[in-house]
Symmetry: C2
Subunit: 118 residues, 2 copies
Amino acid sequence: MDPAELGPEALDRAFMALADPVRRAIVARLSRSDATVNELAEPFAITKQAVSKHIQVLEQAGLVTRSRDAQRRPVHLDSAALERLTAWLDQYRLIAERRFRLLDELLADNRPAGAAEK
Amino acid sequence: MDPAELGPEALDRAFMALADPVRRAIVARLSRSDATVNELAEPFAITKQAVSKHIQVLEQAGLVTRSRDAQRRPVHLDSAALERLTAWLDQYRLIAERRFRLLDELLADNRPAGAAEK
DNA sequence: GTTGTATTCAACCTAGAGGTTGATAAAGCC
DNA sequence: GGCTTTATCAACCTCTAGGTTGAATACAAC
């Protein structure tokens, strides 16, 4: 099956991961460069353990990956994962927008024409 | 300030709203046409009260709006809200991708050049 | 006005998210 | 070996999300 396919649980985890300001800030920070847990924890008024948990949430959501560098575990943003979420959103947004466009054309054309769109 | 500006709480609510398979299915359904609570509840094995709550979550997240038609309260998908989320994701995805592209160019160019990207 | 349909409100339950503190693991430095 | 740094594990607490049932509201239809 398509590796870029996103099952429901994967979407659950990805959107849930982004539904937290700390984790979104981490994503924003990682967009500029990879970073370690300590570096990522620095701006926040919470413990490093809490940040470590946030990173694990992002990792299980597939949004970030981690490597090894001695005792450090640099975190890396997976931009393809963000793209998959964008794709999910765009899919339904475009369906809805196409529908509105058709409706507008019908209305502008000449008559109500009592078609779809309850 | 820009009405399309998304504060942290708005992003919290929007992403949280999408972190549930029932609510995502509702969004998918609404992309095809507006629908009432009863219509939206039909495919699910949960009570209408639960679906009503889901819709309120989507509404407070700004993802849907509601109108009145006698005792019915048709739900309408706000595609602009989806677009705002896409914009948030793309913002950081593009920063990360640009960085990778530059790094690739540096590597392909000729020498390591010991620049950024820890 | 009474019945029926669509939706919400209120109270409650349970599981999990996000936080803490304290102990543990793993790797470099002297 | 011992010490320090980086990061995680474990146990715990509190708050909220998602679900239930049962009563209440709002409007239509008869």
